[in-house]
Symmetry: C2
Subunit: 358 residues, 2 copies
């Protein structure tokens, strides 16, 4: 093929939701239905669209079994529109974005996609980089596409109307970016900057959102289709994080934060990371981002996955005859993540010794 | 995005089916199950794959309702394979190719795809250009992707083992290419070449297959995602063809041939096409490719769609408030198709006056 479908997503940082008219006549809105009740600014905005498809957010939205039902409704809703001009506006958090992005990528072989992330986590992470996904049986994100949105709107009014607990969920991803990105802003590294900035997690998110998004794009643009491996550094904290998220139903961001604690401790133990930087990283995550390791709390211990549970989840996507390995992201220094192939058995042993699994 | 997923498909013209080992260990074969019974060369080849998914060809394979069932089975079958190395080999005609191509484009966000078209029509047309599709309710190809195969094998032994009637079905698309492509081979135009070549339709297909495929790629490469309109010239004969295919269940290639007769007559009537070239085109299609207009046969008249039927099918994808238009491909000269916007009412009137609908 000699030309490309999509270039970079256009990012818009705005105060309020953009006018529905700005998307053209042939526009369909998919949104998290909770927003209508929870947010009057959103409700009055959504009602201006002529075609609306409210959905219940969460992993069940991404369940393949319900996909034909959704797709039929969406084809019906967009029936009277010109497929060449059709725009899908997707407003919601991670699951709504994964679902809506997938729909946009296959409806009429691909229509214009606008993401309006309505959670800090989606605004910071999941709405960027083009990954869309559905779940197949128990397997998460087994099918999907790489389909970057044409435009992404980061809406101040929407993000700041969220409860504080949702901000905390994004802090795990913010910590990840701060640890892996080596770029400097005004001569300062991410860690240096965060250490001297005062504020609540929500204030820090708001202050560093633009910078964190730019960091993610720098990684994604080097490896948009996850073909050369570079994009995997974004998985820092996600290997164990995924196990805890799956088994304990922890929110994604909280689970990722736990995975980062695990990766930092393991990196220290293997003499990859200095004692000093290990302490600085821990302090940052705890004191600035208000995220704490749960592995020594009694509540966690009661609910944590067993060695068998962990193995089953880890091998779910990786199983291969005689070759039980995963790529694990360690931290060597701030801005210096390293990818290493480890045996699933090694990973399990380390997680057990740190008390993450029991 | 700064890099692309796919470049051009690699074309391989071979005598026999390629060795299953050549695709690597992590290979899954999707094939038309009829081939096992119909073709012993195919059967002994297919049995060498460790993961096989036989399907029943036809439009029901592309039915969205059955998609979760297929997808679960396919995820299960490929479970023990490395997703980064996974290759999907798809052997069959148009419907199997559309289905398998779609699966390949979304499984693990896209795996390696090898097409082995087993009908003349798929070898000449549908396996090239990257269009994949499923049907949603009554709407054909409502969802899909642009996902060119990494490799396509055109296998002499397979194509030549088909019954003659299947060759005829590909001749409609061969006629289309011959009429719209302006490139010359050894100083001769397509029409000039065909006129002086002797042989059965199957011999002509075999003789001109490579050239016809190259013609299609020239069009596709100028407009791979159907964004600038150029690719629409490949729709010569397809507007009315689609109506007849949908309503009368005519084979695709036969329906397209009827649509070409319609487009040629309309082009003549509008003084776009000269009387001489109109005659030459008709002679070519009838005498060389053994395809004949059915509109004056009693059998056709008994089964043809009514004006209402035709309108419903034509508006299915195009309906838009106050704007009932379609892009129709006329022929001005050999190698000179032209795209014109016509009212659905005009199209219907012309089809009625030519006796295609009643």
């Amino acid at each position: 093929m000699t030309s490309m479908r999509k270039q970079k997503s256009k990012l818009n940082f705005v105060q309020s939701l953009p006018s529905p008219n700005s998307f053209g006549e042939d526009t369909l809105l998919i949104h998290d239905k909770v927003l209508i009740k929870a947010n009057s600014h959103f409700a009055s905005w959504a009602h201006q669209f002529t075609a609306i498809y409210p959905v219940k957010a969460g992993e069940s939205l991404k369940n393949l079994d319900y996909f034909p039902h959704h797709m039929k409704k969406l084809v019906q809703l967009s029936h009277s529109y010109n497929p060449r001009l059709l725009t899908l506006v997707v407003a919601g958090g991670g699951s709504v974005g994964d679902f809506g992005g997938f729909i946009a990528s296959i409806l009429k072989r691909g229509v214009r996609l606008v993401h309006i992330p309505t959670t800090w986590l989606a605004a910071l992470d999941s709405s960027h980089g083009g990954k869309t996904a559905l779940n197949v049986s128990q397997g998460k994100n087994q099918i999907g596409t790489f389909y970057p949105a044409d435009e992404i709107y980061i809406v101040h009014k929407i993000l700041h109307s969220q409860p504080k607990s949702r901000a905390l969920e994004a802090c795990g991803e913010l910590a990840k970016i701060a640890l892996i990105d080596q770029s400097k802003l005004q001569g300062k590294s991410w860690v240096d900057q965060l250490e001297v900035t005062q504020g609540t997690p929500q204030q820090l998110l708001s202050r560093f959102l633009k910078q964190a998004i730019a960091s993610k794009y720098r990684v994604v643009h080097k490896d948009p289709y996850e073909q050369i491996g570079h994009r995997q550094i974004l998985n820092l904290g996600h290997t164990l994080g995924h196990v805890l998220e799956s088994f304990m139903k922890l929110p994604h961001g909280i689970a990722v934060a736990q995975g980062i604690f695990f990766a930092l401790d393991w990196s220290l133990k293997l003499d990859l990371l200095s004692k000093e930087n290990h302490s600085r990283a821990l302090n940052l995550i705890k004191n600035k981002l208000c995220l704490f390791p749960l592995n020594n709390t009694p509540k966690f211990k009661n609910k944590r996955p067993s060695v068998q549970n962990a193995r089953a989840i880890l091998l779910q996507d990786k199983k291969r005859k005689g070759c039980h390995e995963v790529t694990f992201i360690f931290l060597k220094d701030f801005g210096k993540p390293i990818r290493k192939t480890v045996l699933v058995d090694q990973l399990i042993e380390e997680a057990y010794s740190q008390g993450w699994i029991g």
